[in-house]
Symmetry: C2
Subunit: 392 residues, 2 copies
């Protein structure tokens, strides 16, 4: 217990093209350096209102119940599942990626029964399979992952999925961690009851306050639970007192993270949400074209390609961990390995928010091509670089 | 869902002398503006190690299990209670303040039974009462509040309390939210098994990553639970994979909040923890003397006075809410009202971390005296100001 001698904070200057966090815009960093006001200050209440309004815009929803949860994306996920799923209820979850498995785990801890609808890792759910699962299990809650960060798959046919669930009076929870602010997402139009996200993906905001939205009907279910949810910290009926009209103290909000989220969402509003989706398609499209021009594959079909998270196939004989290390050591460039069923099979390359820029994509394709070549893959680095230059 | 027009972030410039957050040091604000690295980056792993080492220093512990929990103080509180208390176990909690009640609520949600040891709001626990409660209930877990933010009471006799608990083989959980970094606290020497805190009190760090420490024995209890804890997000057996040697992904750590906490703790180490406790006693002592010189009372006895949170008696006939508004509107100065049994009885004046400075104390005593006088109290503002000037 001697007095530790720890040097001044000086982390390396990385370019973040992994599954998140993404590069943070300088305006958001500056917002985080703003001196604090109290979490019950009238000035902060106004900042809360503005943040909620901006969040509704990004989610494409009029839901009154749209808030940042005081924690990282997994906290907004547990707030959704832990409040909506009541003990003894059944939740239907997908098996086509890491985050469906996490949904199952959270539902069980909430006291729920879990049933599954299957699809392979790297493919989306088929609506027919979802319909079959509903007929077989009659679940109370249906969770699906709109943008699977572990596989780079975007779930198409969302309105069809929510339609099936609502025909069976189930509540729909959508994991939008890697889609909010980067990939087309229309909570109201697509009839999603509950959606949660992380701030550190396509919003390019440091993690710590995480978006969550619930429809009035979903919130009514939460407020009329027989037993309280098993987490006090994430109890939405208590948070209602703070974020609602009453402004009652529940816990100390992460003031600085709300400042940051507000600024990140201002950038979304300034750009325009649809223009922002388009920018992600354009820049990630150049990334995809560049990788393919080098002779390297991208895993998912074009039909369910997820611009914000690109699953690059690891060429035969290449050590994926070595490539990741080469990029970090040689270029200060972060990407990530595959998870679960796709470990060793894919490299996960994010293209999110402020990271979805020509400079980042250009660096990524050249550096990745070079590293793959150096590690024994047969890739045409020049063709990749040229394709990116033409596209951007 | 029109594009919202939200102005640039420009909160008022407050002086924070409430129950937290406190004023944040410019170096900590600057750390929050640092660009991010990934939460699995080797550079971040080093930052995690340094933060843990600094936390151990502040807690006065060698506990390996010393981490920041990814959330505000209530998250570290729920991580402590939700992991240690197993379904069917009994937790003994105090009734002498708001936060004992919150302990009870969290223990119930964890599946525990709750029993109580009584003391009035505004007084500490009496060890004899704790011993009686142990004899009567034989609880598995004993929680107490070292620094009660709702009443301004510091619990003395901590080694006596932990001794009683250990004689009965109970695990001791201490709420140190408002003591860590400001008031004498010796986790190892006092034999506290589990302690949690908030960063936004005496550490003067923005909320969002909250200190928690567990002894090896307490962690062994957590790791040998029959059923997993009811929160996935706060499951310490899973967090062990991330903060331990394995560095496995659990959730995305709030990178920026860890940067901030590290910097706030560096300031603690530079000052020296014992010198820092002394500074709190000195500056809060001047505050206390100034308030008393004006003819206004401070609630708790000197014996259990809590320097970081001063419970100023509301003079007869004075509207406490009006005084609070006057200070905010007229001086950009934040203090807070009483809670629960002490609502309307006390004003809560913090003196924490970077707020525990002569300039803040001087402003506080003069402004508070003036506001009380303007609202009808018989106070000697000049005597208060003079006393503060002499003491500081």
């Amino acid at each position: 217990m001697d007095r530790p001698e720890v040097p001044e904070l000086a982390p390396p200057d990385r370019t973040l093209m992994g599954p998140g966090p993404s590069d943070v815009h300088p305006r958001v960093l500056r917002a985080m350096a703003t001196p604090l006001v109290g979490h019950l200050d009238p000035a902060f209440v106004e900042i809360m209102d503005e943040t909620q309004e901006l969040l509704r815009y990004a989610f494409r929803t009029d839901n009154e119940w749209t808030i940042p949860v005081s924690g990282t994306g997994s906290a907004s996920m547990e707030a959704a599942i832990g409040n909506v799923v009541e003990p003894g209820e059944t939740m239907l979850v997908p098996t086509n990626g890491y985050f469906g498995g996490r949904m199952a785990e959270m539902a069980r801890r909430a006291g729920g029964e879990v049933v599954e609808v299957d699809a392979p890792w790297g493919e989306p759910l088929n609506p027919a399979d979802v319909a079959d699962a509903f007929d077989e299990y009659q679940p109370d809650v249906f969770g699906f992952v709109h943008a699977e960060t572990s596989t780079g798959v975007r779930q198409p046919d969302v309105p069809e999925l929510t339609g099936i669930a609502h025909d069976h009076d189930a509540v729909v929870i959508a994991d939008c961690v890697t889609s909010l602010g980067g990939v087309e997402l229309r909570v109201d139009e697509w009839d999603i009851d509950v959606a949660y996200a992380g701030p550190q993906k396509c919003l390019s905001c440091p993690p710590g306050a995480s978006p969550l939205t619930l429809s009035d009907d979903a919130m009514e279910k939460v407020l009329s639970r027989e037993a309280p949810p098993r987490s006090w910290y994430l109890d939405l009926s208590l948070l209602e007192g703070y974020w609602g009209d009453e402004r009652a103290y529940h816990h100390t909000a992460p003031v600085t993270n709300v400042y940051a989220l507000r600024e990140a969402l201002r950038l979304v509003a300034e750009e325009g949400i649809e223009r922002r989706w388009e920018r992600h398609r354009e820049t990630a499209g150049a990334l995809k074209a560049g990788v393919e021009a080098m002779g390297v594959g991208l895993e998912p079909d074009d039909e369910y390609w997820l611009p914000s998270l690109n699953a690059v196939s690891v060429p035969d004989g290449v050590d994926d961990a070595a490539v990741i290390d080469d990029l970090l050591d040689g270029y200060d460039l972060e990407i990530a390995s595959g998870l679960g069923d796709l470990a060793g099979e894919i490299l996960r390359v994010g293209c999110m928010g402020h990271s979805a820029r020509p400079a980042n994509v250009s660096l990524l394709v050249s550096a990745l091509g070079t590293a793959l070549r150096d590690r024994g893959a047969d890739v045409d680095v020049a063709a990749g670089a040229e394709t990116v230059a033409e596209r951007l």
